[in-house]
């Protein structure tokens, strides 16, 4: 198969894991391919969640003509083609046009599936929703999702060398304590003390990062009518679905998607630094932030028994923001 080489202009030279820097890796294993697609989905979520809480876009789906939907998809494909040649969701960029086309198809598929998934979780697409309405909503809402897929690598990709330096400098890295321990005769005690201090600092950083990210994402959603509107139509059993989806998304973005801070995070030491525990604790932080934002914008007044549902509804984007915040710190 002949391939057309893409121009290398404006292509970041860094590569965080590919065998040949700056080039798209071929012959990927199932786990590598799966992780790339999960990273694409995560990038889409980070970019697309705020628009998913916009009722005008839900309604737009009911009167978007098929022709307009096809134009939107074609435009998204074109934009993704350019993004995949310069950024994309792989750990290394696409080199040939064929690769960029393939990844653009995958990007649209991931964007559409993730959009449909979140719309189902939010009960904006149900079995009773007319097909025209559902497709229109998914296509319109998938615009930011697909753009997020296209810039997933750049979205949270730090300089890997810098990340390693930071891991060593702040005492978070697993090997740092061992190095300290070999420096002096009372190294064991010093190491334990420093380890406790580093652990405390890491826990505080996680909570702070989660809260900051949750505030940034939740701030634009909390004052709107969408939160009480979604909450009022949500049965208790479906609230469990939203909670589980929030936890899965948070875990996936931080520990599976392969963003730059992932390996460093897996080496963190501390009371709740295990991935599952950290996900649970930071989700609680996101819920607290969601409740505080609802209180700030006076969205928690009546009815009081609906408050928990609203916190859970706002907790989903807050959890996404919290995941970003933790990776960014």
């Amino acid at each position: 198969m002949s391939s057309v080489a893409l121009p290398a202009a404006a292509v970041p030279a860094r590569d965080t894991g590919g065998p040949s820097p700056g080039r798209r890796r071929q012959g990927q294993s199932w786990s590598e391919e799966g992780r790339d697609l999960v990273r694409a989905a995560s990038g889409g979520l980070l970019f697309g969640v705020p628009l998913l809480y916009t009722m005008e876009v839900w309604w737009l789906g009911s009167h978007t003509s098929p022709g307009r939907m096809l134009v939107v998809l074609a435009a998204l494909f074109g934009i993704l083609l350019v993004l995949n040649a310069t950024a994309g969701f792989r750990r290394s960029r696409d080199v040939t046009l064929v690769e960029a086309v393939e990844d653009s198809v995958k990007g649209i598929a991931v964007g559409v599936v993730m959009t449909a998934f979140v719309l189902v979780v939010l009960r904006q697409v149900t079995l009773e929703t007319p097909l025209t309405n559902a497709i229109g909503s998914v296509v319109n809402e998938s615009i930011p999702f697909c753009l997020g897929v296209g810039v997933a690598r750049l979205l949270l990709e730090g300089d890997p060398g810098m990340a390693e330096d930071e891991g060593g400098a702040d005492g978070r890295g697993g090997g740092h304590g061992a190095e300290d321990g070999s420096d002096g005769s009372d190294g064991a005690n010093a190491s334990t003390g420093q380890s406790d201090e580093a652990s405390l600092r890491t826990n505080a950083a996680d909570i702070g990062g989660t809260a900051l990210g949750a505030i940034v994402i939740g701030l634009s959603i909390a004052p709107t009518d969408e939160v009480p509107m979604l909450a009022s139509a949500m049965a208790p059993s479906w609230q469990v679905v939203v909670v589980v989806a929030s936890l899965v998304i948070s875990y996936t973005v931080v520990f599976i998607a392969g963003f730059s801070g992932q390996d460093r995070r897996r080496q963190h030491q501390g009371l709740f630094q295990r991935p599952v525990t950290e996900t649970l604790v930071t989700y609680l932080v996101a819920l607290v932030v969601a409740a505080a934002l609802l209180w700030t914008f006076q969205r928690d007044l009546t009815p009081a028994d609906d408050l928990l549902t609203r916190v859970i509804v706002l907790g989903l984007p807050a959890a996404v923001g919290g995941a970003v915040g933790r990776l960014a710190l």
Binding site: M1, S2, S3, V4, A5, Q26, G27, Q28, S29, W30, E32, E33, G34, L37, W59, G61, S62, H63, S65, P66, G67, M69, L70, L73, V95, T96, V98, E102, V105, K106, I108, A109, V110, V112, V113, E128, T129, P130, L131, T132, N133, I135, G136, V138, V139
Partner: protein
């Protein structure tokens, strides 16, 4: 020109799966094109009447029997008991082709003791 290694089974699987999803979405959009010309035709019918406390709730299904979307669908319910007529109104923001939504009218009188009429009195074309 850049040499290229053969795709792995994982890459083939994700490519085929993704292409199938995109093809499915495009096909769902394309099949809607022939039927999009029928104008919106919202109608209303009484689904259920039930007593809730001192009031009577009349559940009305509003259905668009056309293909095009109707916006700001005005639904009116008139309940005539003896000489007196009570009127209630509801608005459905958007009703896409074939879509059905439920609205509830609340009356103080029992609809079974008089004549109840529900109708769509107007809508906007978005």
């Amino acid at each position: 020109m850049t040499s290229r290694q053969p795709r792995s089974p994982a890459e083939w699987a994700s490519l085929i799966g993704s292409a199938a999803i995109v093809f499915f979405v495009v096909a769902l959009i394309v099949v809607q094109i022939p039927g999009e010309d029928r104008p919106a035709a919202p109608t209303a019918r009484v689904e259920d009447v039930r007593r809730v406390g001192e009031a009577f709730h009349v559940e009305v299904a509003v259905r668009n029997r056309g293909d095009r979307t109707a916006a700001q669908v005005q639904v009116t319910a008139d309940l005539t008991v003896g000489e007196e007529t009570s009127t209630a109104e509801q608005t459905v923001d958007f009703l896409s082709g074939g879509e059905e939504q439920q609205v509830i009218f609340v009356f103080d009188e029992d609809p079974s003791s008089g004549e109840l009429r529900v109708s769509v009195t107007g809508f906007a074309v978005p």
